[in-house]
């Protein structure tokens, strides 16, 4: 198992390198530069600025320098947030996004899986239809509609929770953003769990267990559920990568200082280094979480466990 993980991590290095090069070139494909302000700078000053940041060099030299910095763990200075390095910006934003994202993922799994199991056990009955109706709505209503509506209903009309804000130790600030972030994932998880649970409940090994007289609850939770979770897990990996690195809409609408706000702003401002930093962090999360997914498979399904062939 350990060799497998190491091998996979080694295989991730070229992927990450490709991500760096590809996003570097893509970013430069966009016309304009970080110093094209609304008010045009005098050409001499702009040239000085570009020289200071090395933007006057040919592209491959810039890429070489950037990669050199990366290898030393240096993401470079931000072009737009003067006096901040990209490392500092990410260090400030990532913990907020990580905390919120982790909460949302926990809520999503704790709510989504039981809902899906419940729907599968009550297949084609009112409970099933109700759960699926909620799930379909959760998928169809985009976050940028849910967030303002949630703020309107719970923040303004009912006044239960703050509309926006972020203060340490204020758990009430976290509730609305977490739930908004979790809702679509709850919906997907419930749908996937229900679907694969229905498949598994029809499979021979479950019927055999039922014939042996395994109690119904134990049958569902201990025998069927682990086998049914594989599609859920493979969905959760990429979903977690996206959620943990921050959601632009949720962070903007609820006024949270996370990392989700960086990407779009930085891409529009041509803040090359900040874009690259966020993209690399996202890519790394994606790679690691996909590895976690594959390891989890092995834990859920004895057939794919290395060294346990039957």
């Amino acid at each position: 198992m350990i060799t497998y993980v190491l091998k996979r991590l080694l295989g991730a290095v070229p992927t990450l390198a490709l991500i760096v090069v590809l996003s570097f070139l893509l970013m430069r494909l966009a016309p304009g530069g970080p110093f094209d302000e609304e008010q045009a700078l005098p050409p001499e000053i702009k040239a000085n600025l570009e020289r200071a940041y090395g933007l006057d060099q040919p592209l491959h030299v810039q890429l070489g320098r950037y990669v050199g910095g990366l290898l030393r763990g240096d993401f470079g200075p931000s072009f737009k947030f003067k006096d901040f390095t990209v490392t500092e910006l990410i260090a400030a934003g990532l913990p907020v996004s990580l905390g919120l994202g982790a909460l949302a993922m926990i809520v999503a799994v704790l709510a989504g899986v039981p809902l899906g199991v419940l729907a599968a056990m009550r297949h084609n009955r009112p409970t099933d239809h109700a759960v699926m109706a909620v799930a379909v709505l959760g998928i169809a209503v985009p976050v940028f509609v849910v967030a303002p509506l949630a703020a309107l209903v719970f923040g303004i009309h009912l006044g239960w929770l703050p509309v926006a804000g972020w203060a340490p130790g204020q758990w009430r600030d976290v509730v609305l953003p977490t739930l908004t972030l979790a809702l679509p994932i709850v919906a997907y998880v419930a749908r996937l769990t229900r679907g694969s649970m229905l498949d598994v409940l029809r499979s021979p090994f479950v019927r055999a267990a039922r014939a042996r007289g395994v109690p119904r609850l134990r049958l569902v939770w201990r025998h069927a559920l682990p086998a049914a979770l594989t599609p859920v897990v493979s969905y959760l990996g990429p979903a977690a990568a996206a959620v943990l690195t921050g959601s632009l809409v949720v962070e903007t609408l609820f006024g949270l200082p996370g990392m989700g706000r960086y990407l779009v702003q930085a891409a529009l401002n041509r803040d090359y280094t900040l874009v690259m930093g966020v993209v690399i962090v996202y890519g790394a999360f994606m790679i690691v979480l996909n590895l976690v997914v594959d390891v989890t498979y092995a834990c859920l399904d004895p057939r794919v466990r290395p060294g346990n062939s039957r």
């Binding site: 991500i19 303002p148 990407l263």
Partner: protein
Amino acid sequence: MSARRGVWSDALRRLLASRAAVASLVTLTALCVLALAGPSLSRYAPDELDWAMMGVPPDWVSGHWLGTDRLGRDLFVRTLHGARISLVIALFATLVSLLIGVTWGAVAGYAGGRTDALMMRFVDVLYALPGIFFVIVLTVVFDRSPLLLFLAIGAVGWLTMARVVRGQAIGLMRREFVEAAVAAGAGPARVVFRHLVPNLAGTVVVYATLMIPQMILVESFLSFLGIGIQEPLASLGNLIADGAAEMEIAPWILLAPAGCLVIIVLCFNFLGDGLRDALDPRER
């Protein structure tokens, strides 16, 4: 003649048996007709300012059936116009990703070996990039032209399609009819486009239907951020952004376009599910 039951007529029968899918199909058709003809039903134009009725809630007497926004523009007409733009962009974006995804997947599945591994590795790498970053760069490269917006969105959505199609194509490559075609001297292009792609049609139709709502959401999201459709045109995303800014005093400005968006996305999802059940051979 009536005794003949092909794959497609079988699928159609099953699709029509699904109440949710039929209801969605009817709703979508009605919405499309409304989006095309609806604006002429109202006495207002989408960019017309009604100075006497600014920011009024839904009102039947004045003909502002869904109310007006802060500038006095009729929301019924604007929502239908927005829906039209969102739908058109989503359809073209789906077409673009279909074209890229099916070609990419079918070629990779046909080629196999190292070419296949390389092509799929490329897909993996693109998967690990945040999609929104890609779209933003492309919209900027295309100079934020609303016409090319669908190209940018479509250029990002093809990854899943490529994976699905490749998986199916690999299965098809082992079948006798492909072997027969190759033995009869069919070239690579002929095998891919005459033998593989037509046999993928079922899968492709299902995924395309499920892709349309995603494309609508991406487009609306971009327009919501202000980097999609630009004024004076407005898609559902712009309208939702406008509404979200004023929801405390005038919630109907948010609810009209948001409701329309949700209905469209819901219907496409139900229709896609129905199609999958109808075309999925495992369910037989």
